[in-house]
Amino acid sequence: MQRPDWAPETIDVERPSVARMYDYYLGGSHNFAVDRAAAQAMVAAVPEAPLMAQANRAFLRRAVQYLTAAGIRQFLDIGSGIPTVGNVHEIAQRHAPDSRVVYVDVDPVAVAHSREILAGNDSATVVQEDLRHPERILAHPDVRAMIDFDQPVAVLVVAVLHFVPDDDRPAEVLRALRAALAPGSYLVLSQASDDGRDEAERAEAEQVYRRTDSPLWVRSRAELTGFFDGFELIEPGVVWVPQWRPETPESAEDAERAVFLGGVGRLGG
């Protein structure tokens, strides 16, 4: 019997997963030997890789803190990964306990893990979906149950877009998400960039990620800025992630080593 296209995939833990590699960079142990081997290959090619991941995760934390302070109580975190440390609901709910969070990831293991972590949390949930199908995410009953799209929502697409090649039309994806948002909503983006980086290094990194289900697609600052189309960029705009509202001036030093560019935009009106 031929498998029809709506039949689900099987789980393959013999292949490195970008979610678990990321956990490894952050110092977690939610990973398997294949993930560690791939992550170590990445570190061999780009020694700062763990620092980049940490800087990105710290950007995510500061962005969520900023949004919570700005009054946002609903978060849609797409490409949320393995809940290791410093998850969006933990950050948001620490400052605003009434915050509601929906995590979305394609990785079934990441989703299963999230589900276990979130068991018993009524204001956070997880759904397995692909960023490339925003209409499915927006129509998902669990998403609808948690998020009121008549109220402002923060959509987080952090360290995910570099897994969405241009062929998959990331700009259209973001436009579709934007169309569902109420005025006063936010978009948080970050992604790996090759601005000012060594060509050979990028090639090696791409080589490593080709082993995974999510090949790497780096972009320039201009491209990332373009993704904020329709949003007003919050100061300081699209910058190396350590430079985005740093806690101390020192923590923004050597920012371009972080490789990740990030920014936050607000939907006016």
Partner: protein, 583 residues
């Protein structure tokens, strides 16, 4: 603490500690939160170093708290030990006699506690990610199985009624036959079809037709539970009766099915009445294959339908064999034509006045490669049913004309040739052209061709055939009514038809044995009526000289039958003519 000097110097230490930890792993907190935490731990360590006896549990506690706060990496431990060793005593001014000794023991406790906590954390995380992978895999497998089941269901069920479809039925039938064959057990099939269902679609529309189908399907499967009911497509259903103990079992199922259909169905306010017909087959599984069973059930269903529907019919092997043989025979007609297996015999039509040969009737025979020479009554009916009579009759006509031309030289008064035309041939639009072309091609004079048609052909009332026959008659072709007296025998219409001759059916002639019999009187008035209409009369089936005499006495013009000669090849008949033998 607050403004105390230790706290102030402790602040410098905690900041240095925080700086040392930077980058060791992701620390999910602000710099201030980190420094706050480390400050508290610094105070604990300082307190412990100052207190006698040395409480090593504090070393463990500090380590555990670090790991719990996600300051949990080998690097973080190394740097922590380094910072404490290098700076804690100096920054907090903790000098004392045995301070380096106490410090070594405390550091050992921190390192031990940290390693233990880190290992536990690593193991916990490994366990949780493994569990997640297992859950994900189990979910994926479940989903796969569910989707496969759904796919399988779709592949094996009819989307309209959700009944099993032909595929599933075929599987189940094969399995049932297999299973029953070994034990010498019996299986049964009811092949059911809704009567004139097309009419329901036509009068209420397809939507209501579909709903009626769904309703019928539901009733059927409920009525014959637990037997499997499948929809084969359209309005055809089939019921599998496994473990039958005899015909009665399956007949009961068929009756239950028909009864379930009998109640009118209310669809959208329409009372739709559906009846069905069922073909039943029941036999030992070992004696049959699924294909055989299905075919037999299908034929049997046809019997129920031709008998008027709303009934069941039971398979009858003899009848089926006959039908199959007939079918095989009719299927062989085209090849037979192609291979020249057909040939003509001729039977004389003799004058009752002087015994001379007036004409011959062409009679087709089939030299079948397996069955030998077949007489027309074995295959003409079949050919008429299937429409093959058109090519076959066309061949007979052409062949008769071709042979008849050859007789011209043989005798001074060559006989005409009389050829039977079937209803379908007469109704065909091209008949006139066909005959005209034949006459032209063969050169046969039109008055040497006679076309025999039956009364019923003319009774249909259609204009077209009459016009065609009139055209042919105008050409000079003779038109005879065959088997007259067996149908309506309506003489009135003969007046308007281009008919030259009546052939009176043999039954009347057979009745001539008894003197002054009713048949004789009927024949006599028939003959005088025909003569009044300017028609000649030929009597068929003349078997004895006595019959011939009587017919002559009545005034009948010609006769045909064994008395005048049996059907034979053209040469034989012509030879007799030349010999001058009376027919």
């Amino acid at each position: 603490m607050g403004e105390s000097p230790e706290a102030a110097s402790g602040g410098a230490f905690a900041r240095a500690w925080a700086k040392a930890l930077w980058g060791t792993s992701y620390l999910p907190m602000t710099q201030a939160q980190l420094e706050g935490l480390l400050q508290r731990l610094t105070d604990l360590l300082a307190q412990t170093l100052r207190t006698e006896p040395l409480d090593l549990r504090v070393g463990h506690r500090v380590a555990t708290e670090l790991v719990a706060a996600h300051i949990a990496s080998a690097e973080a431990l190394g740097r922590t030990l380094e910072v404490i060793q290098l700076r804690l005593i100096r920054d907090l001014d903790l000098a004392g006699d045995d301070v380096s000794d106490r410090m070594a023991r405390l550091l050992a406790a921190v390192a031990t506690g940290y390693a233990r906590a880190l290992r536990d954390r690593t193991l916990d995380e490994q366990e949780s990610i493994r569990r997640a992978a297992m859950t994900a895999r189990a979910e994926a497998e479940l989903a796969l199985r569910a989707s496969e089941a759904r796919f399988r269901h779709q592949a094996t069920h009819d989307p309209l009624t959700d009944l099993p479809n032909r595929t599933l039925f075929a599987e189940r039938l094969a399995a049932a036959v297999d299973a029953a064959a070994g034990g010498g057990r019996r299986v049964g099939l009811c092949f059911l079809d809704l009567d004139r269902f097309k009419r329901i679609n036509d009068s209420y529309g397809h939507q209501i037709g579909d709903r009626a189908l769904v309703a019928a399907a539901r009733r059927l499967s409920r009525a014959v539970e637990p037997h499997l009911v499948a929809r084969l497509g359209g309005d055809a259903f089939v019921i599998l009766v496994e473990r039958s103990t005899g015909t009665g079992d399956v007949v009961a199922v068929a009756e239950a099915a028909l009864a379930a259909l009998a109640e009118p169905v209310l669809v959208d306010g329409h009372d739709v009445t559906i009846t069905g017909s069922v073909g039943i087959v029941e036999r030992r599984a070992a004696d049959s294959s699924p294909d055989d069973l299905m075919r037999a059930a299908g034929s049997t269903l046809n019997w129920a339908k031709t008998a008027g529907g709303a009934r069941w019919a039971l398979y009858d092997a003899e009848r089926d064999d006959q039908e199959q043989a007939r079918q095989a025979l009719s299927a062989a007609i085209p090849t037979g034509l192609e291979r020249g297996e057909f040939f003509l015999d001729y039977q004389p039509l003799a004058s009752l006045h002087d015994g001379s040969l007036l004409g011959v009737e062409a009679l087709v025979r089939w030299r079948h490669p397996q069955l030998g020479v077949l007489r027309p009554d074995t295959f003409i009916g079949l050919a008429e049913e299937t429409g093959l009579i058109v090519p076959l009759g066309g061949w007979v006509l052409a062949e008769a004309c071709r042979e008849a031309v050859g007789w011209t030289a043989a005798t001074t008064r060559p006989p005409y040739v009389s050829v039977n035309l079937a209803v379908r041939q007469v109704r065909r639009p091209g008949l006139v052209q066909e005959v005209r072309a034949l006459l032209r091609r063969t050169g046969l004079p039109p008055d040497r061709l006679q076309l025999e048609i039956t009364e019923s052909t003319m009774m249909s009332g259609a204009e077209e055939p009459v016009r065609a026959l009139r055209t042919l008659a105008d050409l000079g072709v003779r038109i005879a009514i065959d088997d007259f007296g067996t149908g309506y025998s309506n003489l009135a219409y003969l007046r308007d038809l281009p008919v030259t001759e009546l052939k009176v059916a043999g039954e009347f002639v057979r009745g001539l044995r008894a003197p002054e019999a009713a048949d004789e009187r009927i024949l006599a008035s028939l003959v005088s009526l025909a003569h009044a209409l300017n028609l000649t009369v030929t009597a068929e089936g003349v078997e004895t000289g006595g019959q011939a005499d009587r017919l002559r006495a009545i005034g009948c013009d010609a006769g045909q039958g064994w008395h005048f000669g049996r059907p034979a090849p053209a040469e034989n008949i012509l030879a007799r003519v030349k010999e001058g033998a009376p027919c």
